[in-house]
């Protein structure tokens, strides 16, 4: 693998790992606070799964660049993260958390299906491991999409409000990074425009069936190097203990 290709793949893996890490962190914030016990358990499980996925993706970054996953997670500043702003947003209400999870799960399902055929074998192996786990998430969040979208006027209103915030942000999941074209040529990573079409083909009808409608089409953030202020507060919380004593042995 030449240096350009290696750098492009590492950058894409890092962005994918960062997305999973932030979503896991936001979901974990519900532990002990979810509306009912079953959902508390379910969301803690989902968070743990996403953290497991992040760990695998960071491991693949390490194989390519030698960067220690623990350092990547606990000792980067906000500007060095490549997570999408959608997963950095505060957890909001239950509708916001479930709709974000749904939009992300649909994205991850489509992504993993394609990555399972990646020409870079470690990526294909990782995706094959994660696909069935993700299926449980997707079923769960799909059920909540319908339950809240078709529930009461209040639950529908909250879902629509969540969609109005999330929809412009979701596009960043598919925004290009330098080197993506190389990855696509090699068959290492799917074309993100095609991925976006596949995702839209699933989520738009599902949103409509759940009684959710037109939403703002304002252009959202594009560059994954640009973050909202929410990432700073998230990192302050997530990294506080590790940074209190850099030399501590766990």
């Amino acid at each position: 693998m030449n240096d350009d290709l290696r750098a492009a793949l590492a950058a894409r893996l890092l962005a994918t790992a960062d997305d999973e890490l932030m979503l896991a962190h936001r979901n974990a914030e519900w532990t002990g606070h979810a509306p009912i016990l079953e959902e508390d358990i379910a969301l803690a499980n989902i968070a743990q799964d996403e953290l497991g996925h992040a760990s695998i993706w960071y491991g693949l970054v390490e194989e390519l660049t030698g960067q220690d996953p623990d350092r990547l997670v606990f000792f980067r500043d906000a500007g060095e993260y490549r997570s999408a702003q959608m997963v950095e947003q505060p957890r909001g209400d239950w509708a916001f958390t479930m709709l974000r999870q749904y939009l992300f799960d649909a994205y991850e399902m489509a992504l993993l299906a394609r990555l399972a055929g990646s020409a870079y074998q470690p990526v294909a192996d990782a995706a094959a491991r994660m696909r069935n786990e993700e299926l449980y998430h997707y079923r769960h969040s799909s059920a909540w999409l319908r339950r809240l979208g078709l529930g009461t006027a209040e639950s529908n209103r909250r879902m629509q409000a969540a969609l109005d915030v999330l929809w412009p942000l979701a596009g960043q999941l598919f925004s290009p990074q330098p080197g993506d074209a190389l990855l696509n040529v090699e068959g290492y990573w799917p074309d993100l425009n095609e991925l976006r079409q596949a995702w839209s083909g699933v989520v738009i009808p599902a949103l409509e069936e759940a009684g959710l409608g037109e939403t703002a089409s304002a252009a959202g953030p594009d560059d994954r190097r640009v973050h909202s202020a929410h990432l700073d507060t998230l990192l302050a919380d997530m990294q506080m203990v590790a940074r209190a004593d850099e030399e501590a042995v766990w």
């Binding site: 009912i36 016990l37 079953e38 358990i41 379910a42 803690a44 499980n45 989902i46 743990q48 799964d49 996403e50 953290l51 497991g52 996925h53 760990s55 695998i56 074998q121 470690p122 294909a124 192996d125 990782a126 094959a128 491991r129 994660m130 069935n132 786990e133 299926l135 449980y136 079923r139 769960h140």
Partner: protein, 217 residues
């Protein structure tokens, strides 16, 4: 709604396969008799499997390592060995150096590190000079790999075993689940997520009590 989980039924006095004490400083002698394994899948002839001393040097066999791994239990399901769970993929013995290749169940399973430690402790006790436990992701672990013996043990432990799905998602997610206590299929799924990543919560209408299932994956 709060599901009241009944306390887990006590582990059955299952036939043999008592875990060898694994506390450090409590290692059995390399040639100490090993407790017999249960009949059934993965049964190993213990007489042939025991490590032997040849010309003053311990000879470890692959069979002896597999037999020892039959005694290393899943930290979250203490009646199920790692071999019955299907996570041990390969054993290589070179002199007194043992390499075990295993595959994780769920990506985020926190028991993986503990499983690796338990394998190392057990094989050092068996007489290995060094133990390497490698983790591979491919082929991806499937709950189909849980042995028949493992499925019986799960059920006896009070965990409904996962349906064998052969990769078919429809079977994986929608096959009939039976109550591990009364075998009734009059059950309701309460939560596809449970107390560990690998468990779902059901309710048996006949027993009028909750039970857990080992989730198909």
């Amino acid at each position: 709604m709060v599901v009241k989980l009944s306390p887990s039924p006590p582990a059955p006095p299952h036939s043999g396969a008592q875990a060898v004490p694994q506390g450090e400083g409590n290692f059995p002698e390399p040639n100490a008799p090993t407790s017999p394994l249960p009949a059934g899948e993965g049964r190993v002839d213990m007489a042939a499997a025991n490590p032997t001393w040849s010309e003053g040097r311990l000879t470890l066999t692959s069979d002896a390592v597999w037999a020892a791994l039959h005694e290393v239990m899943d930290p979250e399901i203490p009646v199920l060995s790692l071999v019955d769970l299907g996570v041990v993929r390969e054993v290589t013995v070179s002199g007194d150096v043992v390499t075990v290749t295993m595959t994780p169940t769920f990506s985020g399973c926190p028991a993986l590190v503990e499983m690796q430690r338990l394998i190392e402790v057990r094989l050092l006790a068996l007489g290995a000079a060094s133990v390497a436990v490698n983790t591979v992701l491919a082929p991806a672990w499937s709950s189909d790999w849980i042995s028949d013996e493992g499925r019986r043990k799960l059920k006896a432990f009070g965990l409904a075993p996962p349906p064998v799905h052969g990769g078919d998602v429809q079977i994986m997610l929608f096959d009939v689940v039976r109550c591990p206590r009364c075998n009734s299929d009059d059950v309701l799924v309460r939560n596809t997520f449970g107390s560990t990543l690998c468990r779902a919560i059901y309710y048996c209408n006949r027993c009028q009590d909750a039970f857990e299932q080992f989730k198909p994956l």
